[in-house]
């Protein structure tokens, strides 16, 4: 995993892709409804969909429960972060 100093200073050294938006659309669900289901704010859902916020394990597990998918299908590591 490559972590740049500028990245750390900017606070964006954690990168992860996710398919939340696709899954939400597939389940015909609004951000508000999903937020309500997993007990967070709508802004958090929006930030996660835009890959600006990496959720906690608890939140990731809750999302996997809602979409009935394994966590690693919802969230994927970027190439830089993969185990070599």
């Amino acid at each position: 995993m490559r972590i740049s100093l500028i990245g750390i200073l900017k606070g964006n050294f954690l990168k992860m892709k996710n398919s939340l938006k696709v899954e939400r659309a597939r389940h015909d669900m609004t951000q508000d409804r999903l937020a309500e289901l997993i007990g967070v704010s709508r802004q958090t859902i929006n930030s996660m969909e835009k890959n600006k916020y990496v959720p906690s394990t608890v939140l990731a597990l809750r999302l996997s429960e809602v979409f009935k998918l394994p966590v690693n299908e919802l969230f994927q590591l970027t190439d830089d972060d993969k185990v070599r």
């Binding site: 606070g11 937020a35 007990g39 967070v40 704010s41 709508r42 802004q43 958090t44 929006n46 930030s47 835009k50 600006k52 916020y53 959720p55 906690s56 608890v58 939140l59």
Partner: protein, 154 residues
């Protein structure tokens, strides 16, 4: 979320955000007033003595308290993302204060060796001023991080 609930217990209710702004609204004009008086009457010992004696109570306590309430009052919908932003902002504040405190003796040395002034520690208003500055920077960082996160939401 149980673990999050534990942390949220330490946060103040949302209403404290407004109270913090009210307190700041009263505290900040006082800062400007006293600073203006100081600049005008710098050589006046009476004013300087008054400043030394009362500055902490008159200025830093309402400002620190106001900033603390603003930073640690929960959001309308508090969750782990806001908690992590708040934590990140607090670390930004600590880092800024640490650099600033290290920077003061350097300024002092430049002033002494470069311009021939007396070598002395710059007085910035004591511990309360440091706390106010830390909270101010943490608040600014928090608002900046929040804005950066939500700016393209619409």
């Amino acid at each position: 979320m149980k673990n999050l609930d534990q942390i949220e217990k330490f946060l103040l209710p949302y209403a404290y955000r407004k109270r913090g702004f009210v307190l700041m609204g009263a505290g900040l004009p006082l800062v400007f007033l006293v600073m203006s008086l100081l600049v005008i009457n710098y050589d006046n010992d009476e004013v300087m003595n008054y400043w030394r004696e009362w500055s902490g109570y008159v200025l830093h306590i309402p400002i620190s308290l106001g900033l603390f309430w603003i930073l640690f009052a929960s959001e309308r919908e508090e969750d782990e993302m806001f908690l992590s932003l708040r934590l990140k902002a607090t670390f930004h504040g600590i880092r800024f204060i640490f650099s600033a405190v290290l920077f003061l003796p350097i300024i002092s040395m430049i002033s002494a060796f470069g311009f021939g002034n007396e070598l002395k520690t710059i007085n910035v208003g004591g511990n309360l001023a440091i706390v106010s500055l830390l909270l101010l920077y943490a608040n600014i960082s928090y608002w900046y991080l929040k804005r950066k996160l939500f700016k393209d939401e619409k």
